[in-house]
Amino acid sequence: MRRLEKIADWFNQRLQIGQEVRAIAGHPVPSKSASWWYVFGSASLTIFIVQVFTGIMLALIYVPSAGDAWNSLQYLNHGVTLGWFLRAVHGWGSNFMVAVVLIHMCQVFLFGAYKFPRELTWIVGVFLLLMTLGMAFTGQVLRFDQDAYWGLGIGASIMGRVPLIGGWLVHLMLGGPILAGDTLSRFFALHVFVIPGLLIGFVGLHLLLVLKLGINDWPMPGRIVRRSTYLKEYHELTRKDGMPFVPQAIWKDMFFSAMIIVSIMVCAALFGPFGPTGVPDPTIVQTVPKPDLPFLWLYAVLSLLPPEMETPVLLIGPVLAIAFLIWLPFISGEGEKSWLRRPVAVVTLALIAVSLVTLTRLAMHSPWSPVMYAWSGDPVPVGMLQGRTPLERQGALVFQGKQCRNCHSIGGSGGKRGPALDTVGTTLTYDQLVRQVIQGGGNMPAFGKNLTPAETTALVSFLQTLRPPGRLPAKNASRAVVMEQEGSSPKPNTR
């Protein structure tokens, strides 16, 4: 022990930072802020360190070349001892980091920590969130498989929607005319040098601000933040009711960080690494690309927006969102901190959270995508063929053969792009069915050019039989009235 102290002294005589370090470690925090709610920031930092460490480990093997990246990932998974585990930890670490950073942000927002004097801390935090998401996206690209390839294609297509300079942006992003070797190399540089470098700098700044300004005090309803008095009140609080960060507050951070690391490792061990999925060969078009978890909500938005709103939302939406986040501390830099007195803030956050979760859930099922193999994979349920006429059965064949099933489900299987057709016979009349099939409309392609009259007749006859037992087919009531009138009219019936 004495020897250790001697060594420490030797270093301190030269470095002369012992006092500063002790002052930083022992800086007073309000006792109520030494809470389990305040552990997410330090946990984000811990995960970032894990990511840097495992990232360097992966870089020992990974080959950032479009021709070899996929093979080097396979080698990592299967050829290198525990390579799969390090990939898994890095991949799960990424998901955990996005999640914990978001939770941290929500907590900070709800606790009003972005208000005076911590505006800059919040703004730096907004950039940290953007960089975290940037790391998640570029990391998905480095896992150079089919999802990565087509995900990049989507990124390029979004760039292509920028007016005037869209073409330049596409080529700048791809590093050339197509998505190929130069594209992966530049995303490697972004993921490994540029964004982590910025992240380290911004994390340092974020931490410095936390130390200089002190941790946010626990929000009490009625304790109003005023620029003129806040600093005095805060110092009064820490003087009266403060405790040194080390060791009295830090143990919760350490417990939580350790738990997060263990959770990441458990997920990695149980669920394994992410992919890589199929080889990134563009000529394999039999693929259903999907983004990684943090971007699934965006995938849903892109599918559900009306086409004419898409470009404005894609290009202006992110700018507005980021501008709002940066602006937030300036429009509400003072006032109530407590969530109990900020109903608008709470409702807004709840709305955003519910929307993101809903969109993510939806994107997991992606009901807007045609099910490409439904027409050849799922037979028409037997019950829907029993007791049908030959014409109607022929219609069932047309139904399968013309891939109606890719978008319409019957018997619970098939696409969800269009409505399920199990009871369509009760909602659309014969004439309406013919019109819908031939002319399309309401987001359905017109099949007029692809069906012979005989095929249409058979198909519609089959569709008319799709009704719950005992229900009559839909009929046009007004038509019956017209026919009745025609029948009762003095004019000779021409039919």
Partner: protein, 190 residues
């Protein structure tokens, strides 16, 4: 000569302002050097744009004999991108859909959906191209049938020479970098 003390004061003052001046020159020199250094760096970064100016990314690429493509049908074809590097691996292979309307009349579609670039698949039975991502659907002539795409499929310019079909290709088609293509805005004609 007057008071030596005040004299010394003046000379000291002069010295400081001279150093200030030199420091300012020093800053200026570094700004200048940085600007000079930045110029080639920016040029280097802009290379993907500059190399592709005035359609230099596009070349005529042979797709195969006309007879490889039966009349009235749509077939899958692939080619190596005219601009590529040895470390591209499989990514310089580019797929496309070739529809031989009749005789020497063709339509060659990029696989990339006009919506966000996912690969569309041809379904001959229903005569539709379907996109697996966000549900875009196109008719056999490439025009938009339903879903989110803002226009029809991107088409390559083609020519038939000595019984061989070639297309003018070379860059990833998006709404502002067309596959090569007749620059038709917005329309659904493809």
């Amino acid at each position: 000569m007057s008071d030596p003390a005040s004299n010394a004061g003046v000379s000291e003052k002069r010295e400081v302002s001279r150093r200030d001046f030199l420091a300012k020159i020093g800053i200026l020199l570094n700004v200048l050097a940085a600007l000079i250094l930045a110029t080639p760096v920016i040029g280097y970064l802009m290379s993907p744009i500059l190399r592709g100016e005035r359609g230099r990314y596009k070349r005529w690429v042979a797709l195969g004999r006309v007879t490889d493509f039966p009349e009235g049908q749509t077939r899958f074809a692939e080619f190596h991108n005219p601009i590529s590097s040895p470390w591209d691996g499989a990514t310089d292979k580019t797929p496309c859909w070739v529809r031989r309307v009749q005789g020497e009349q063709f339509q060659v579609f990029a696989v990339n959906c006009a919506h966000l670039g996912c690969p569309v698949r041809w379904f001959p039975q229903s005569g539709l191209f379907m996109c697996p991502c966000h549900g875009g659907v196109y008719y056999r002539d490439g025009s938009r049938a339903s879903g989110p795409p803002p226009r029809g499929l991107f088409q390559y310019e083609y020519k038939v020479e000595n019984g061989e079909l070639s297309i003018h290709a070379g860059q990833l088609p998006t709404l502002s970098t067309t596959a090569s293509l007749r620059r038709r805005r917005g329309g659904c004609e493809g």
